[in-house]
């Protein structure tokens, strides 16, 4: 199979799997058992080593790394946890219109609970309006949450400028970097980000784990009651194998792979633009993640394209709503000012280190046939 859905999830690296299997076989105790037995202490030590490694990797400290069960949970803990713990300081929160659903749904919940939310708009490439953001921050604002890169079109935000604006006003910044880190390097010792979400299964790590970086002086309320795990911020035993696997995923992540993926991405864009008429690249051509490509194929609908590609053994996703119970097309593309037709006809190709140029060549050949077949029957072309 040719897998171009790496923005959804990546193939786990074999080295990560080996490390996890080895750990699972031998270190099955939980880290909370440190006052009971040696195996528990050993596991706790290994978890702390992983925490310290990841903290250092990000330019932060060990005690600033909180392991959760997913990126979604990390976003929930950052946003709702912060809002609940800091309610007395103000009730206004800011985010953007193109965030991941776990961010948007967290804000929706907070709105229902009486918080005021401002959504910063984006331009037609998915870049947020910095002037709007600056103007939107009020005295009562307590939190700004803006993604580092977009999950559907790959557009990168200028996070340094965003952080400067938020800090000028003395506010707290959460950054959802689920799709971006470590493809994009973030040095938390240099960039004043207070909360940062990371999702290891997006870079060849295990599923079932997320990371929330929390600057040590930031206060959060815990959302999952239970034990005193993770600095008393999240009840529930740590997913120990996945933590060990996550450390390995950071260790084996190579910048040389990123360079190669970037070249593949440019090749894919060039081939689509040269071989298929009436296509539009969605997102920001220059300032974008190295592995995400999103195109609209005019006059036809995304699910039909993706299903036909699947018959050829090629996995992609669509920004069309036909996959969901809701008829609304991708909120990201609509927020970028795309028409409904353009949003419905969009396909996301997301690459990984396992993809090859040959796979792209094969995909282009199939895509040409599929797009031409579907356009032949489209009423939007007036019978052409």
């Amino acid at each position: 199979m040719i897998y171009f859905d790496n923005a959804s999830s990546t193939k786990t690296d074999d080295l990560v799997i080996e490390e996890m299997v080895e750990f699972a076989k031998n270190y099955y105790a939980i880290p909370s058992s440190i006052f009971s037995h040696t195996l528990g202490i050993t596991v706790a030590d290994k978890i702390e080593e992983a925490r310290s490694y990841i903290g250092t990797y990000l330019g932060g400290k060990s005690n600033e790394i909180i392991f959760t069960a997913s990126g979604t949970e990390a976003n929930n803990l950052a946003i709702k946890g912060f809002a609940y713990a800091n309610r007395k300081k103000g009730n206004h929160l800011i985010t953007s219109t193109i965030e991941h659903i776990s961010v948007l749904e967290s804000f929706k919940r907070l709105k229902e609970e009486g918080f005021e939310i401002t959504y910063v708009p984006v331009d037609n490439t998915g870049k947020i309006d910095l002037d709007f953001l600056r103007e939107a921050i009020r005295d009562s604002t307590i939190l700004v949450s803006i993604q580092l890169a977009n999950q559907e079109v790959g557009t990168l935000q200028d996070i340094k400028k965003i952080a400067d604006i938020v800090k000028e006003k003395g506010k707290i910044l959460h950054v959802d970097a689920s799709i971006a880190v470590p493809y994009v390097k973030v040095d938390l010792s240099q960039t004043p980000i207070d909360l940062l979400t990371i999702s290891p299964h997006k870079f060849y790590g295990p599923k079932g784990i997320g990371i929330l970086y929390k600057r040590e002086d930031v206060k959060l309320s815990k959302l999952i009651d239970g034990g005193y795990n993770e600095f008393n911020l999240r009840g529930g035993h740590e997913n120990t194998w996945a933590i060990i696997g996550t450390r390995k995923a950071f260790e084996v992540f190579k910048d040389t792979d990123v360079e190669r993926i970037k070249q593949l991405k440019h090749y894919l864009i060039e081939r689509i633009e040269s071989d298929i008429p009436d296509v539009t690249l969605n997102g920001n051509r220059l300032d974008s993640l190295p592995h995400i490509v999103n195109f609209t194929f005019k006059f036809i609908e995304g699910e039909s394209i993706s299903l036909r590609l699947d018959f050829e053994g090629i996995a992609v996703t669509t920004g069309s709503a036909c996959y969901s119970k809701n008829l609304q097309a991708s909120h990201v593309l609509l927020a970028m000012g795309k028409t409904h037709e353009d949003a419905h006809g969009s396909i996301r190709f997301s690459l990984s280190k396992y993809n090859t140029k040959e796979e792209i060549d094969f995909t282009i050949e199939k895509l040409k046939e599929i797009v031409s077949d579907l356009r032949r029957i489209s009423p939007l072309l007036g019978g052409a």
């Binding site: 299903l307 097309a329 028409t339 409904h340 032949r376």
Partner: protein, 211 residues
């Protein structure tokens, strides 16, 4: 878990039957909207002596379910009388396809809707209506809710393109909140006329652009 479509759906999706345009169609109807991700244009050629469908073609902008339903409906309707065609439902199509996922209903009803609209329009065009009820504002609004505004992908009623409608002595006057120079004004005008001009008690459809 396999793809939630039957083999018959997949076959019709991959190789749809009766695709294309009938240039001299007796009736042509478009249903759906690009905003919802699904749209169908259906063409019928009718033998006026027998009232049978002698040719049918369709075009689809939509998902697998939409394409497959349209394809099977065109198979089902071929050779049928208009009275028989009127009775073909979305459920008949779904049954012939071996079933459709329930979440796909919205993508699939369009083909049946288009067929029913086409038959009704043909009856109107040819004075074959059995029951001649007077045209009401409600009926006009219902018809116009099938006309899509290409700019928004939403029908012209919902996208508030209609300023006012009046019916007077066989004449319908529609004032549209649209500039006559708009790139879609001519398309919209034609489609409105197509939907209304054959109503049995209507002799004139006037469209005024509220520039």
């Amino acid at each position: 878990m396999p793809i939630p479509y039957t083999k018959v759906v997949i076959e019709h999706f991959k190789n749809p039957h009766n695709v294309g345009v009938i240039e001299d169609a007796d009736v042509k109807v478009t249903e759906g909207s690009p905003a919802c991700g699904d749209m169908i244009t259906l063409y019928l050629k009718i033998d006026p002596k027998t009232n049978r469908v002698v040719d049918v073609k369709f075009q689809s902008y939509g998902c697998a379910s939409n394409i497959a339903t349209a394809s099977i409906i065109t198979d089902l309707v071929k050779g049928k009388t208009l009275e028989e065609a009127k009775k073909i439902t979305w459920k008949d199509a779904a049954e012939a396809l071996g079933g459709l996922p329930s979440i796909k209903v919205h993508c699939s009803v369009l083909a049946a809707d288009a067929l029913h609209s086409a038959v009704e329009l043909y009856y109107e065009k040819n004075g074959l209506l059995k029951e001649k009820t007077p045209t009401t504002l409600e009926k006009v609004f219902e018809r116009l809710s099938h006309v899509i505004n290409p700019e928004t992908g939403i029908d012209i009623v919902k996208s508030k393109l209609i300023d006012s409608i009046s019916i007077d002595n066989g004449s319908i006057t529609i004032i549209l909140n649209l500039n006559e120079n708009s790139q879609f004004s001519e398309n919209i005008k034609e489609e409105i006329k197509e939907r209304l001009q054959y109503l049995w008690d209507i002799s004139e459809v006037k469209i005024i652009f509220n520039n």
